[in-house]
Every structure is written in structure tokens, then in C-alpha cells.
């Protein structure tokens, strides 16, 4: 087991390294130049390019970047002048992560609960009701639910802070809005997975043995339904924790979400690289944890 984990870790690091290299060259292929700016004279643009080392040949830039990376230096952001990429990520990630975790706890638990209920009451009214509720969660995009809630609870009723990240209660509305879209997915997945488990022989055996319905559900059906959910959980965690552009803008949360979109639009090369390496490492880590979790949850895989 330990050897397996160590091997996976080594491969993960290699993966991130390849990811960084591929992204570096892909990004240079993108059209445009970060310092082209019609409000700044051409000679000033030249000086800016030179200052950030963009006038050197691409291969040389790559080696300089990788050299710095090994020392843990992600460089200075090209657009957020004066700030280092590590600083920016270091300040915004904890905010997004806190919001993301709150939202995940909410959406995953509700999703699993709804899914289980739907499967147990298949094709009866709770199934349809919960499914409609879940569907509403995806059909109404956060860019509308967010402002409605913000206006209702934050302005008209004033029971929650409308925007910002100053108090612990600031996280409630954004976490809810962020989680809504995810609940439906988790509900349906859990429902489908559990339905395929319900018809298994071992479930019938368990009932025949005289276990109460609750015991049957929790001890047998639930655990065995989890494997497919786990697979999607890895990337879900990674993307939720790294922030949502829309929710963070609506509720004015100083998180990472906007950097993902803006850095590519603005061609902030160092920021794009920093975010890719960060997100990539995170994703790889999550997948590793999920693969390990598989082995614990489903004994059949352990001995594969």
C-alpha cells in the first residue's frame, strides 16, 4: 500500500511538471501581447516587455521560469503590478477554499440525502418532488438567484450581510447559491447509483436476514453506492475550492475565481502559469486521495 502511494506521488509530481511545460508553450501561442495597450506609447510598451523578460527567446524564458519554479518562485504578476503570484494565490485561496468547503458540505450532504430518498421512493411522489427541486437548482443560474437573495435577505430584510467577506455569516448566502447547482448532480448520481445497488442479491439477503430497513440502507446500500460519487467528487472539490467567478463577483468575495478567467483574457502569463500549477497540483492530489479512498470503500478494488 505504501509503495503504491509513493509511486503515485512520484507520478503526480511528474504530471504537474508536464502540465506546466505544456501550458507554458500553449500560452505563448495565444494571440496578443500582454503589454499592447492603445493608451500607452509604443516605446513604453517595449520597456515593459523588457522589464518582465518577455523580449528574450521563448526557450530561454522557459528555462528561466522552470529554474525559478524549482526555487519556489512563481514570479511577479504582469497585470497586478507589484504583487507576486504566490502572494496573490496565498491571499485569495483561503477565502475561496472556506467558501468552497462550506458550500460542499451543504451540497454533498443534501445531494446524498435527496438521492437516497429518491431511490428508496422510486417513482412515487417524493421522487418526483425532490427531482423537481434539484432540477430547479440547475435551471436557475446563480447570476439570477444570487442577486435576488442578496436583495431580499441582505437589503430588504437585512438579516445577512449583503456582500463582502467581513463576518462569518457572510459565507451563508454565497455558499448556498454556489451549492445549488451542484445538488442536482449529486442527487441524480446518488439515485442512479443506489438504484443499481438496490436490486443486488446481497441487499435481498440482508432484508431476508431480518435487518431493519434503516440498517439495510446505511450498512449496505449507502456505502456501495458511493464509489461513482467519489470519482466525481475529486474534480468537484478542486473546482469548488478554487472559486467561482460569478458568485464571487455578485457577493464581492475576495477569492480566486476571477483570476482564472481574467488572467487568460489579460494574458497575464505568470499568473496563468501560477494558477495552472496550483490548480493542477490540487487536482492531482484530489485524484490521488480519491483513488486511495476507492480502495478503502470498495474491497473489490483493493485486490484488483
Amino acid at each position: 500500500m505504501v509503495k503504491y502511494i509513493l509511486k503515485r506521488v512520484a507520478i503526480s509530481i511528474g504530471t504537474v511538471f508536464i502540465l506546466a511545460t505544456v501550458t507554458f508553450f500553449l500560452v505563448k501561442l495565444l494571440p496578443g501581447d500582454p503589454f499592447q495597450n492603445p493608451t500607452i506609447p509604443a516605446q513604453i510598451q517595449e520597456k515593459q516587455r523588457a522589464y518582465y523578460g518577455l523580449d528574450k527567446p521563448v526557450a530561454e524564458q522557459y528555462f528561466i521560469y522552470m529554474g525559478n519554479l524549482l526555487k519556489g518562485d512563481l514570479g511577479y504578476s504582469l497585470k497586478k503590478t507589484g504583487h507576486t503570484v504566490s502572494d496573490i494565490i496565498g491571499m485569495s485561496f483561503p477565502v475561496s477554499a472556506t467558501l468552497g468547503i462550506t458550500s460542499l458540505i451543504f451540497s454533498v450532504s443534501i445531494g446524498l440525502l435527496f438521492g437516497t430518498l429518491c431511490a428508496q421512493f422510486k417513482n412515487k411522489w417524493p421522487d418526483y418532488l425532490l427531482m423537481i427541486v434539484a432540477v430547479l437548482g440547475i435551471a436557475l443560474p446563480s447570476m439570477v438567484i444570487g442577486p435576488i437573495l442578496r436583495n431580499l435577505l441582505g437589503v430588504k430584510l437585512g438579516i445577512l450581510p449583503a456582500t463582502g467577506w467581513e463576518k462569518p455569516s457572510s459565507a451563508i448566502m454565497p455558499a448556498f447559491v454556489l451549492g445549488l447547482g451542484v445538488i442536482a448532480g449529486n442527487t441524480r448520481a446518488m439515485r442512479a447509483s443506489m438504484l443499481s445497488v438496490i436490486t443486488q442479491d446481497y441487499v435481498t439477503t440482508a432484508r431476508a436476514k431480518g435487518l431493519s430497513p434503516m440498517q439495510v440502507v446505511m450498512r449496505h446500500q449507502f456505502k456501495n453506492s458511493l464509489v461513482p460519487i467519489l470519482t466525481s467528487l475529486g474534480p468537484q472539490i478542486a473546482s469548488t475550492l478554487t472559486g467561482s467567478f460569478v458568485v464571487e463577483t455578485i457577493f464581492r468575495i475576495p477569492g480566486m475565481g476571477k483570476y482564472f478567467v481574467d488572467s487568460i483574457s489579460n494574458l497575464d502569463y505568470t499568473m496563468i502559469m501560477g494558477l495552472t500549477i496550483f490548480f493542477g497540483s490540487f487536482l492531482v492530489l484530489m485524484n490521488l486521495l480519491v483513488d486511495i479512498a476507492y480502495a478503502f470503500v470498495d474491497p473489490r478494488i483493493r485486490f484488483a
Binding site: I11, G14, T15, I18, L19, V22, T23, L26, V27, L29, L30, P31, N123, Y128, M131, I132, V135, L136, I138, A139, L140, P141, M143, V144, P147, I148, A184, R188, A189, R191, A192, S193, L195, S196, T199, Q200, V227, P228, L230, T231, S232, G234, P235, F260, I264, S265, I272, L275, T276, F279, G280, L283, V284, N287, Y294, D298, R300, I301, F303, A304
Partner: protein, 305 residues
């Protein structure tokens, strides 16, 4: 005792030649699927609803004398009334037209853009999971790398290569960026199933890996895949709105549901109907796709038959 034997038993006679005839009509696999599907009332109703929606999307624009791109400054931001059944937008364009014309684009991209990546993902994930070992490792690491690169970068590069504005470009770009999730998911399921007895039995009987994958493993993952597809469709609709903005989507003034929603969301407070109308249709299609998906999965899943 002799009396009982004589009176209680009667000779049966010859067994009837048609006693073992199968009286039910012979049915194919698909016929069976359709029959199960029809038993699910909700799914059937949804199928009809979707058919109606598609009919409107095709014929709706012809019902009114307007077109979807002409501006009319005398009728800006009007709520639904007898002339403009769904109202008008900021430039006075008729929303009835825009909703149906937009529906064509959205539904086409949504359906194709979800099914195609699923196929790709299932094939790759299934192969990877079944064969295992080094190939599995290689494929999964490649998937990790591809998932790690920000998708916006691919999209812009794709635009450079393919040019922008047509539906084909959009479908390809959506497919390229979303097959990875289903690959991982399928691989997980396959890992679970591949050591089961029926698989071992099939292999013992001499089945090739392809037979095992496509005839046994994949149908058993159908349940999850169908759910993914039905959940994925509205996601593609919104994703398409986002793509339109970076120049990879349908060029304006061509509408799509995602675009209509995004434009209306910014003015939601002041003109709610501009948002509500396309949203109802997106919600309706999603609901129908979900119910159809459920029905399909219940009908297709070997374990539930």
C-alpha cells in the same frame, strides 16, 4: 382403495402439441426497451413535451411576421402583449422569434455536445479501466494533464485553428473540453465491475476484450452515463453562452438560449420577463431530458430488467 383409483383419476390423453408454443409475440431488444420505457408515464409525457418543443423550435418563427434581428426603436423593452407574444428586448427585437431561433442552436449544440464527449469518454475510460496496468496509468495521467490546463486556453487556440462562428466549431470545442470527466467516471465503474464473476465467465468462454468491454462492462455503467448526459445538457447551454462571449460561439445577432439568459440576467430587476421566458424553456427541456433519461436508464439497465 380400488374404487378411489378408478373414480378419482382420469386419463389425460395426448399432450397438446401447442402446449409449449410461445404465445407472446417475439420481441427484439429495442422493442423490449421501448415497452419498458412506455410503462414510465412521466418519461412518456416528457418525450411528447420535448417533441412539442422541437416542433415549436422548427415552426415557431414562422408564426409571427417579425424576424429575430431587426431592431425596432419604437418598441424597446416591451413586456409580452398581443403584438409581441414574448415581449421585446433592448433593441426592440421580438423575443418570440429570438427564443425559437435560439432554441435551434441551443438544443442542437446541447444534445450533440453532450452525447459526443460521453461516447469518447466512455470508450477511453472503459478501455483504460479494463486493461489496467501501465496503459491505465498513462491514460489517466494524460487525462489529469488535460483537465489541469485551463480550458479557456484550448478554446482560444481552437478558435485560431478553426475559425469561429459555426455550430461545428462549437460542438468540437465542447467535446474536446468535456470528455475527461466521463472518462474518469467510467474507469471507476469499470474497476468495480471487471472482477465480477460474469466477466470472468465471459473471458473464460473466449470473449475478446472488446466484446467484454462493449457488451458487458459498458451496459452496466449505462445508469450513471445516462444521468450524466441528462445533467450535462443544461450545463452545455450555459457554457455555450460563455463561449459566445469569447468569440467562439454563434456570432451575434444570432441568438441562443444561453445568450438570451445571460443578457437578461443583467437586467433582471427591471425587465424580468426577458429572463423568465427563456428560463422556462431551459427548465422545461431539462426536466424533460431528466425524466426521459430516467426512463431510458430504467429500461436499459440490465440489472433492472
Amino acid at each position: 382403495m380400488d374404487d378411489a383409483r378408478e373414480n378419482d383419476f382420469e386419463p389425460l390423453g395426448e399432450s397438446r402439441p401447442d402446449a409449449e408454443l410461445i404465445l407472446k409475440r417475439q420481441t427484439t431488444y429495442l422493442g423490449d426497451v421501448w415497452r419498458s420505457f412506455c410503462k414510465n408515464k412521466a418519461a412518456l409525457a416528457s418525450l411528447f413535451a420535448m417533441a412539442a418543443l422541437v416542433a415549436f423550435v422548427v415552426f415557431g418563427p414562422m408564426m409571427r411576421p417579425f424576424d429575430y434581428f431587426s431592431n425596432d426603436y419604437s418598441a424597446i423593452n416591451m413586456p409580452p402583449d398581443r403584438i409581441h407574444w414574448f415581449g421585446t428586448d433592448t433593441l426592440g427585437r421580438d423575443l418570440w422569434e429570438r427564443v425559437w431561433v435560439g432554441g435551434r442552436v441551443s438544443l442542437l449544440i446541447a444534445i450533440l455536445g453532450t452525447i459526443i464527449p460521453e461516447f469518447i469518454g466512455v470508450a477511453i475510460g472503459g478501455l483504460s479501466g479494463y486493461i489496467g496496468g501501465k496503459l491505465d496509468m498513462l491514460i489517466m495521467r494524460t487525462v489529469d494533464i488535460l483537465m489541469g490546463i485551463p480550458s479557456l486556453i484550448y478554446l482560444i487556440l481552437l478558435m485560431l485553428v478553426m475559425g469561429s462562428g459555426n455550430i461545428l466549431t462549437m460542438i468540437i470545442s465542447v467535446s474536446i473540453t468535456s470528455w475527461m470527466g466521463s472518462a474518469r467516471s467510467t474507469r471507476g465503474l469499470v474497476l468495480q465491475i471487471k472482477n465480477r464473476d460474469f466477466v470472468t465467465a465471459s473471458e473464460t468462454l473466449g470473449a475478446s476484450p472488446f466484446w467484454v468491454i462493449f457488451r458487458h462492462l459498458i451496459p452496466n455503467t449505462m445508469g450513471m452515463r445516462v444521468v450524466s448526459i441528462t445533467i450535462g445538457i443544461p450545463g452545455v447551454i450555459f457554457y455555450e453562452a460563455f463561449l459566445s462571449y469569447i468569440g467562439l460561439g454563434v456570432t451575434p445577432p444570432n441568438p441562443s438560449w444561453g445568450q438570451l439568459i445571460k443578457a437578461a440576467a443583467e437586467q433582471f430587476r427591471y425587465y424580468p420577463y426577458q429572463f423568465v421566458v427563456p428560463c422556462i424553456f431551459i427548465g422545461l427541456s431539462m426536466l424533460c431530458f431528466n425524466l426521459i433519461g430516467d426512463g431510458l436508464r430504467d429500461a436499459l439497465d440490465p440489472k433492472l430488467r
